[in-house]
């Protein structure tokens, strides 16, 4: 795992910064459901883009990996949305 992190440290650093920013924003807008849904959508889409770019740079991008990130991003958004929509 450490090798994986060392090998992709720039990407992981970007991901950590994005996650920290996301957490700050959802805490700041925790009483604004419209904004939380928007942030969930932007966060999920950003993760898909991050994953695709990472594999593209490494020359490891396949159709299956694109599907994987799209599905995972969709799962993350639905987990948020199913709570926020009520």
């Amino acid at each position: 795992m450490m090798e994986n992190i060392k090998e992709n440290r720039v990407e992981y650093f970007i991901l950590l910064v994005a996650i920290a920013t996301f957490m700050v924003l959802i805490y700041k807008f925790r009483f604004n459901k419209g904004m939380l849904i928007f942030l969930s959508g932007v966060g999920s889409a950003s993760y898909i883009v991050w994953g695709v770019i990472h594999h593209l740079i490494r020359g490891k991008l396949t159709k299956n990996i694109v599907y994987e990130y799209v599905l995972f991003g969709l799962l993350v958004f639905l987990l948020f949305f199913s709570v926020l929509s009520f």
Partner: protein, 349 residues
């Protein structure tokens, strides 16, 4: 010393046995639902793309069920709450104190107007400052005989407790200006349970005012109908501890030249005392708990599988042609924390 030939014979015997009794190993194949496969260089079956798609479909299906249940069984699903007027007043005045504004006094006419506004929203099924027939908040206030110079209204629904309501109002700049508005001397609250859009919920109406005539200002005597805890707050007894909460408000001030209040009407209303009742909405199924449980169940299930994948792959030195498992895991942990700790029910307008 290692006997290579002996080891090969043993393996050969094991393979022969497996070929002869395939059932003996088939029963262990289920572990690959949960663990990565070295031979296929992929994650556990329950983490492949098809499985993730199925989880997405299931989440959508459950959400649709939660949407349709209220149409067939109104009131079964709802928002459990425990909101009291005394707490609403306490937290409101805490916020005012923190912002250097004098505390508000509880006023019977404003509370009566708030109660009627809440009942009107349930009756006509709307959630807005202005009713579908054009009735404005000020009409409710004036109908109670409260002649004002300034008036305002904050609304909240689906909250579980009083502190969250006031925090939500304080967090919204527009509602905040009502909550800590220096133009107001008095406040009225209504906390009413009912069924809206098929969901059992609690509406909170907060009405602010400054009477045209200072003599109309509420006194301790005006609050004789309050239960013990409400009376204490209404008399201006400040809470012992500071609140860290926030709140929301939308300023809607208006001048009016209506008739002064009716003492008879006020006394009758105080006698009823209905707006002073604490709200304890207890639907059969709390929709907040239900939706959070479903999301957390899926989130935690997938996270555990990802964690198993990371640990097992490292232990066995399995390299897979997939996306970054650790990144997926990190993102899911954020989702779980957000849903568990940050997301609260409730809307304010």
């Amino acid at each position: 010393m290692f006997d290579h030939n002996k080891s090969r014979d043993e393996n050969s015997n094991v393979i022969k046995y497996w070929r002869k009794h395939p059932k003996s190993i088939e029963k262990y194949q289920f572990v690959y639902h949960f663990l990565p496969r070295e031979d296929k260089k992929k994650r556990a079956d329950l983490l492949d793309n098809k499985a993730i798609l199925i989880y997405c479909v299931l989440i959508v299906f459950v959400s649709v069920v939660f949407r349709f249940v209220p149409k067939f069984a109104p009131g079964v699903l709802g928002y459990a709450s425990n909101i009291t007027i005394s707490d609403l007043l306490k937290y409101t005045n805490q916020k005012r104190k923190e912002n250097g504004v004098p505390p508000l006094k509880l006023n019977a006419e404003l509370s009566a107007a708030a109660e009627k506004k809440a009942q009107d929203m349930f009756k006509d099924g709307y959630w807005a400052h202005v009713a579908p027939d054009g009735t404005e908040p000020w009409d409710f206030i004036l109908d109670e005989g409260y002649d004002y110079i300034y008036a305002g209204e904050n609304l909240a629904k689906n909250f579980s407790n009083s502190k969250e309501v006031v925090e939500a109002w304080f967090k919204s700049p527009s509602h905040k200006s009502n909550l800590i508005g220096a133009n107001y001397d008095e406040v009225g609250f209504a906390v009413v349970n009912g069924v809206m859009d098929g969901y059992e919920t609690t509406l909170v109406v907060q009405m602010f005012g400054r009477p045209r005539q200072p003599s109309m200002l509420a006194t301790v005597g005006d609050e004789k109908g309050l239960p013990g805890e409400n009376k204490a707050s209404a008399e201006g007894i400040e809470p012992a501890s500071e609140s860290l909460g926030e709140s929301v408000s939308s300023p809607e001030q208006e001048n009016s030249q209506e008739t002064p209040s009716s003492e008879v009407g006020k006394e009758e209303y105080l006698a009823e005392g209905s707006y002073l009742v604490q709200s304890n909405a207890n639907p059969a199924i709390d929709i907040t708990t239900a939706t959070k449980t479903v999301s957390l169940a899926f989130g935690i299930f997938v996270s555990v599988l990802l964690a198993l994948d990371i640990i097992y792959s490292r232990k066995k030195g399995i390299r897979k042609f997939t996306g970054l498992t650790l990144a997926h895991f990190m993102v899911l942990v954020v989702v779980i924390i957000s849903i568990w700790l940050v997301f609260k029910p409730g809307l304010v307008i």
